[in-house]
Structure formats: structure tokens, C-alpha cells
Symmetry: C2
Subunit: 198 residues, 2 copies
């Protein structure tokens, strides 16, 4: 299984790393030994919104080879501007036939601009619900919204919940629980009994 | 105020980014306009435990100029080996007169090797409590342990709790709450009523 972690300038680093940590543990903790991933960008260099630099491992290459494509979010007006960047969105559309597209925070605006949320429920950072409404059938206020081949997560730290959700989806509850404990994360995604997942 | 985010090879990326996010929001959200930071390493390149590359902004420079020095953790045996790397630990000792040294996860072993936990309570990832015991007066099983000029946080995701704790310490409850909401993080560090902070 191959995962593309998409990064782009002005993204929020925690949106990326929060899901990167549990998903890559599927391999390092032995649950999916054949898992591989690339850090994919449409530019040679990427700095997050505070200037922290990340190095992509694939630049401007098609995303069609991946099973999962995962996008972080960033500051709403900057990400909204990116939804109108024809080259970037055309690049995201190379993920059309990938099994799963997932996003954190305002990353869902980018999935929307690529057409992946048409007719679907989706979520985003609560500050961007208005912008998200342009791109999907219904904005849903939940930590993780699963529409089968498209999964969206709410704000920044919901990245961790998305990651654990994906771990359970692909490797089962026991594997996800071991990863969660190793991350010292003490609640469960979408548990209605937890205040984290209102 | 100047913050050093220390990074090193085989660290856990989320240990670093979980505290980096809330602390840097002190500036981007306007609470501490004069806040500045550097990404400090003792090597020219740094890859986390999964090969993700980070670029330091200061290499092998003294840490004495910083107010806060914050260390991530990594896989226990690798970090324990680093506690015996004389050059690296000598470099960490340049932080001796800094106002605050803080760590996430097994980063506390490194603080300990530099002598900063002598006579103090401290925490770490529960898997590393035995190793930590060598370096401090008492191992404490809490999300965040505040000993004044040294603050340690438990495993990986406790990085976020450490960050919010530091935000409240330097900018007050209201600022921390605004940052927490912007991060879409829904519980409070060290709240005994929350299952997150057992």
C-alpha cells in the first residue's frame, strides 16, 4: 500500500504530522510491513505558515500511483486562494482514481476544488465551514466524516483522530489501539462518550 | 522572547510539531509579537525516525541566548544512546542558564543527561520510566510535570498539552484558550476531570 502525504507552502505543519505519525506507525510497529509513502509537493521547496521548511520526496509527479492521498490544511484565505490555482488543482486531480482521498482542516477545500466532494458530506475547521459549503453537498460538524473514498477531518488536531481512524480502517481495532497507546493519546476518534468528539 | 526548538536525528516528528504549533501561535495570533524562535540542531541534517527531513536554522551554535529550550523525544533505545553522546550532551549543557528547559516524551532523558533533572520530579513516555529514573529524583506519571525552570511532558501527543501549558504560563488563560480553540483541541492540560489527563 502506498500513501501520498501532500504538502504545500503555508500549510499547517501539525495538520500534516498529526496524521503522518499514526499512519507511518502502521509500518514501524509491524502492522503493515509493505506500507510505503512519499512526501508529495507541486513545488521544490515547502515552508509551513511559520517558515518551517519541509523537503518533498516527489515533486510535480502524478498522484495516480497511490492508494491513499492525504492533504493538510492551512490558513483559510491562503488555502481558499489555492483552490483557484489551476495548476495545483489540476495536479490534485491526478488522484481521481486513488482508492482514498483524505484531508485535515481546510485541506477539504482543496479536495472540494478538485471535485472530490461533489454530492458528499464533509467537514473542515469550523472557521471555514462557509467556504467548504461551496464545494460539498452538506457541511457536517464532526471530527471525522467518512464518505467511503473521501474522508475529511475537522481542525488542526483532528489530524491525529483522522490518522487513528485510518489505522483502524486498514488494520483493525487492535492495531489502532496499540498505535494510540504508543502515541500516548487517551481518547478514541468519534467516541460519542468523549468530550473530544462532540 | 526567544525559543529554541531542538531537533535531532531519530526524533519523533510529532513530539516536535505538537508543541511547535501552539507556541508559535503566540506570535501568529498576536499574543507575543516579539516572540522569535530557531530550529536548533547539532548536525547539518536531521531526519525523524521515519526518514522525514527537517532543516535546522542554527547548527552547533550555543543555546545560551534562548529563554526557552524545548526538546522532543524519540525511540527509547536510540535516545538512551544519545544520552551517552558526550558532544551532544555538552551542547545541551550550553542551555544551563536559560530560563526554561522543556521536553516531550523521552526528551526528558536528554534533559536528565545534561543534569537538569537532578533532585527534580519528571515524566516521560511510560515505556521509558525505568530509564528516566536514572536521571531524576522521582518519576511522575502525569501529562505535564512543572518543576519551575524544567518542565517535562509524557508521551508523543502530550507535546500538544505541553505547548498549551506553556502558552498559559507566558500569556495567560484567555490566550491559551483562544489558541486551543484555533487548534480545535477540546480538552485542557492537567484537567483531572478529563479522561485525557489521567
Amino acid at each position: 500500500m502506498k500513501v501520498a502525504f501532500v504538502i504545500y507552502s503555508n500549510m499547517t505543519a501539525l495538520d500534516f504530522i498529526g496524521v503522518y505519525d499514526p499512519v507511518t506507525r502502521l509500518k514501524s510497529m509491524g502492522f503493515l510491513p509493505d506500507l510505503s509513502w512519499e512526501i508529495c509537493a507541486y513545488s521544490e521547496t515547502v515552508s509551513d505558515s511559520t517558515g518551517l521548511k519541509f523537503l518533498p520526496t516527489q515533486i510535480m509527479q502524478s498522484l495516480e500511483e497511490f492508494d491513499w492521498v492525504i492533504l493538510p490544511g492551512g490558513i483559510t484565505p491562503l488555502v481558499y486562494a489555492l483552490t483557484q490555482d489551476v495548476n495545483f488543482i489540476t495536479w490534485l486531480k491526478t488522484a481521481e482514481n486513488c482508492q482514498l482521498k483524505a484531508s485535515v482542516c481546510t485541506g477539504s477545500l482543496l479536495l472540494g476544488a478538485a471535485g472530490y466532494l461533489r454530492g458528499k458530506q464533509a467537514t473542515s475547521h469550523p472557521n471555514a465551514f462557509k467556504e467548504l459549503a461551496e464545494f460539498c453537498a452538506e457541511v457536517v460538524d464532526r471530527r471525522v466524516v467518512d464518505e467511503g473514498n473521501v474522508i475529511t477531518a475537522r481542525g488542526v488536531t483532528a489530524s491525529i483522530d483522522l490518522g487513528l481512524y485510518l489505522c483502524e480502517k486498514v488494520a483493525g481495532y487492535e492495531a489502532k489501539e496499540k498505535i494510540r497507546v504508543q502515541m500516548d493519546y487517551q481518547t478514541e476518534p468519534n467516541s460519542d462518550s468523549s468530550p473530544l468528539y462532540a
